[in-house]
Symmetry: C2
Subunit: 327 residues, 2 copies
Amino acid sequence: MTDTTLIGLDWGTSSLRAYRLGSEGVVLEKRELPLGIMRLLGQNRPASDERAALFERACRQACDGWLEADPSIPVIGCGMIGSAQGWREAPYLAIPVDIDSIGLSLTYVVGQNGIVLHIVPGLIEHSELPNVMRGEESQITGALRIAARGKKAANGRNSSLLCLPGTHSKWVLVREDRIMHFETFMTGELFSALCQHTILGQTMRPSEDASAFDRGVRVAQSSARRASLLSMIFSTRTLGLTGALEATQQSDYLSGLLIGHEIASIQQGTDNSYFLQEILLVGNSALCLRYKRALLHFGRVDVRIISDATERGLWTIAVQGRLLERA
Amino acid sequence: MTDTTLIGLDWGTSSLRAYRLGSEGVVLEKRELPLGIMRLLGQNRPASDERAALFERACRQACDGWLEADPSIPVIGCGMIGSAQGWREAPYLAIPVDIDSIGLSLTYVVGQNGIVLHIVPGLIEHSELPNVMRGEESQITGALRIAARGKKAANGRNSSLLCLPGTHSKWVLVREDRIMHFETFMTGELFSALCQHTILGQTMRPSEDASAFDRGVRVAQSSARRASLLSMIFSTRTLGLTGALEATQQSDYLSGLLIGHEIASIQQGTDNSYFLQEILLVGNSALCLRYKRALLHFGRVDVRIISDATERGLWTIAVQGRLLERA
């Protein structure tokens, strides 16, 4: 087995992803376990020592076999494991935050059996309506590092608009490697709730229909200023009733409406320069392709998709935090 | 038993309301049965003759004892019973529609045992994103009739903006007794889905908090032009995380956000004169009071709440359709 240098955990609400990293952060092995913190905690709220035992056991399971040769290999984790419901709360860093400095604010927790987990802080934006993230700061760090690779050294510092689509999509404005602003859109979660728990889902038949997706994006793009989303989404049903949208098209049409609305909102935001940055899409590749397709309607042909950002980010943050400098 | 002149049925998706009306449409008796068409049909889609038998049985149950003395008493119904999934499809009337003419387009169905149900047509607006209603046309008809009572005869024809809040809120522009335009907002259904099936509901504790509702309305009012609803609703969670919103306040805050967003969208609509009409709120009185409170933030102090509109509308439409002119 090639030497392990670092173990990285991306520990969210529903799943726990573990990465065994070698020198220079190369990924030697990865695992995905259904041990996200909400799955571990379940409906009942266990007492804090019981919670700690649950988290430690899951952590050992994720690292199984990776620490036997050298128990001093550092372990770093990001995501909901650092929330108030997690193993140890890692206080939010308030933006603006230099992405080179996140690793200087790690928290750690020591398990009963001696395992040490270093926890990456989440970020908060104290605006009128505050915004928070946990886990995405590591993806952002990794994505910017990956994006910088192709650039000239002279132009090393990054200014970009990042989009991390998902349950709660994040749009993040980075200027000169500083996270300046971010917003959260409940697009993924709302899409699921609408399909599964409202009248819109009742007439949907599963299928993939790119033209229906495009149509939804265009409707959102042209209507965003004058129509409310609350009203626009109902067209999924009425276009079906009038025969203008097949049952097999309704899901992709709604997806296009929501994603188009999200992008239109970013484009029309208060800061006009916002949307003119280089755009990096970070995350699940099928979802990134969907956003890339939608962004074409907004004239953005220069969009890059970055994958494997979390593991690169955890490595980068561990280096910043000097976790790898061992005796 | 006072003489029955008409039986009116408000037959929707989940419930069936029945009204026994006397002379001049006075309500003599009312019933509410859990026999909405979706409850009757269930998950399995029965064949059409089986469906007809289900609907006829429910219809007889709703009218139980009311037709014995005189089986020729007319029965009129509105709502989803006239949809493609209902007993007999009553084709939509396309707006603009004169409210005095709806009763000229009734459909009817005759049951196996001879009962005749006259069905009120729904309305459709053939715009780029079409809009439909079934049942609300009867509420609108009744509400305008009730609202006209207090006015001078010279000023008898109505120009109003009606709001029918609910699962799918409708806003309806009426000029000179003609329905000119309407919009649907999925406010009520989205609120339920967000509370019951997303992360926002997880931290909510049930309570009533009028100040939290007001806060939500104000946020929606001030943010509507620049923030997406997809992003704004997430503040229900983040304000909770930062301690700025108690668990007991989150539900009313979210309700205020959604209702405020709906009203802001009407106010900022393409037609500026839209929001300057007299506003009539029609429907469930607790919900109407909530909308009335929200409208105060938009400077509207002159809002009337109209109740019992459906039964008045069914009576009015039956008169238009000459159902009461019997041999």
